[in-house]
């Protein structure tokens, strides 16, 4: 699944560590999500969408079947 997390984070001028601090997760979690290596759980995706004030489907784009 692709996502726009890196783009949204950079728009806020945050480092991965800063975003991790705000979301209460590890920096590695942010890094793996940004690189598409890990898809977050639904509650965590909601937390991200709330933080950036965007809809989940505007941040996370599912792969085409």
């Amino acid at each position: 699944m692709e996502n726009k997390l890196r783009e949204l984070r950079k728009n806020k001028d945050w480092s991965q560590a800063e975003l991790a601090e705000v979301l209460g997760v590890s920096r590695q979690t942010i890094n793996t999500i940004e690189n598409g290596k890990y898809d977050p759980s639904l509650p965590f995706a909601f937390k991200i969408s709330k933080l950036f004030d965007q809809k989940i489907e505007d941040i996370f784009i599912p792969d085409e079947e």
Partner: protein
Amino acid sequence: MGDLTTKEKANKKKYLWEFWPPMIVYMVWVFIVPEILKVAGDGWWTVPLTLSQIIPLIFVARAMIRFIDRCDELMKFVYMKSAVVSLVVIIFVCMGYGFLEFRGYPTVPLFIIGTLVIPVYFVCAFVIRKKLDGK
């Protein structure tokens, strides 16, 4: 390790406080019990005394489980996957050596298997984390 978040630092600190006291008790007790057993004879109480070495390890395991419970979802995923992979590795190693024992290799005590799980688990966790980190 230098870029741990506040939550991770607090989690790690709590883990160390929960992990080390029972581990120190274990490391002391594991040397005391054999000395007592040497002079104890064959009393029924030597069985619970021998098994008492496990009690501090239960608290060590509790500290580890509570640490994983406090981790974020990616770390939980890494630790769970490491547990599954290390279990599979240990099963194959045990079965492989079991077949060799039928061929005449010396019998290995069960104690070794329990000890083997720990390094295998940490190697698995390290490899899984590295794989997730790489682009």
